[in-house]
């Protein structure tokens, strides 16, 4: 910004009527402004911490809810456990992919 004095006849009375702040005024005012800035910084840090905590809590709740929905329903609620006899064993047969030659997976030639 540049100061371009143009009309001293008008400017000088105005400067007397509206004097500039003294250096003491400036220092005092900067003290207030910088304090407000630190206050705002602390408030922002608190808000960031609160939001982070809320996100962690939300993630935990979401994970817990997902875990519950993936469980096998208990027998008393008519879930899958009720349909299986207690002495039945589960047999799983793993078949090799059809495209692989038997020698690759160690089978008979």
């Amino acid at each position: 910004m540049t100061f371009e004095p143009e009309d001293p006849e008008v400017r000088d009375p105005l400067h007397r009527a509206f004097p500039a702040a003294t250096s003491d005024d400036v220092e005092r005012a900067w003290g207030r402004v910088s304090t407000a800035r630190r206050g705002a910084g602390a408030w922002a840090a608190t808000m960031r911490a609160t939001i982070a905590a809320a996100l962690v809590l939300a993630a935990f709740v979401a994970g817990y809810a997902t875990g519950r929905s993936n469980r096998v329903a208990p027998a008393e609620r008519g879930g899958i456990e009720q349909q299986l006899p207690s002495d039945q064993q589960l047999h799983i047969t793993v078949r090799p992919p059809a495209l692989l030659p038997a020698s690759v997976i160690g089978g008979a030639p």
Partner: protein, 162 residues
């Protein structure tokens, strides 16, 4: 963060005195002018531009808006001031009489008054004033001309007084 602070602080130290002068002429009260100036700089350090001269113009814009809001509130409380029209009944204008200068400035309409203060008191260029008040440069010059003319009329009346 430190470079942001130093830019804001540099802007503050360079512009605070001129901003208070401008606001003093706008809101007619020194203490209120200082409050508005500090609030403007507080907003600057929190969410204003971080480089100069953008910060300088931004803080003047915010301060002007706050001052106009203050004036609106004040005028709700009391009748609107009459536009200054010098008459033969006026006492001769004395530029050394601070109270008289302040009254004369206060009697100007907002538009020419803010331009006059930004120019003659705060020392902004025409382009900078146009950026602050969001008018084009020619309009700023017209407003300034009106304000100076009002002051000169009073000044001439004083010179011609016996």
């Amino acid at each position: 963060m430190s470079h942001l602070t130093s830019a804001a602080e540099a802007c503050f130290r360079a512009r605070y005195p001129a901003l208070v002068q401008f606001l003093h002429g706008m809101v007619h009260d020194r203490a209120r002018a200082e409050d508005v100036a500090q609030e403007s700089f507080r907003r600057l350090v929190i969410r204003g531009p971080t480089t100069r001269p953008d910060a300088d113009r931004w803080v003047f814009r915010v301060a002007r808006r706050l001052a106009l809001d203050e004036l609106k509130l004040e005028r709700h409380r009391r009748a609107r001031e009459l536009e200054y029209e010098p008459s033969t009944d006026d006492p001769p204008f004395d530029p050394d009489d601070i109270a008289q200068v302040r009254r004369l400035v206060a009697s100007l309409p907002d538009r020419p008054r803010e331009v006059l203060l930004l120019r003659e008191v705060s020392g902004l260029s025409y382009q900078e004033i146009a950026d602050v008040v969001r008018r084009n440069v020619n309009t700023v010059k017209q407003d300034l001309h009106r304000a100076r003319a009002a002051l000169r009329r009073a000044w001439v009346a004083q010179k011609e007084a016996p």
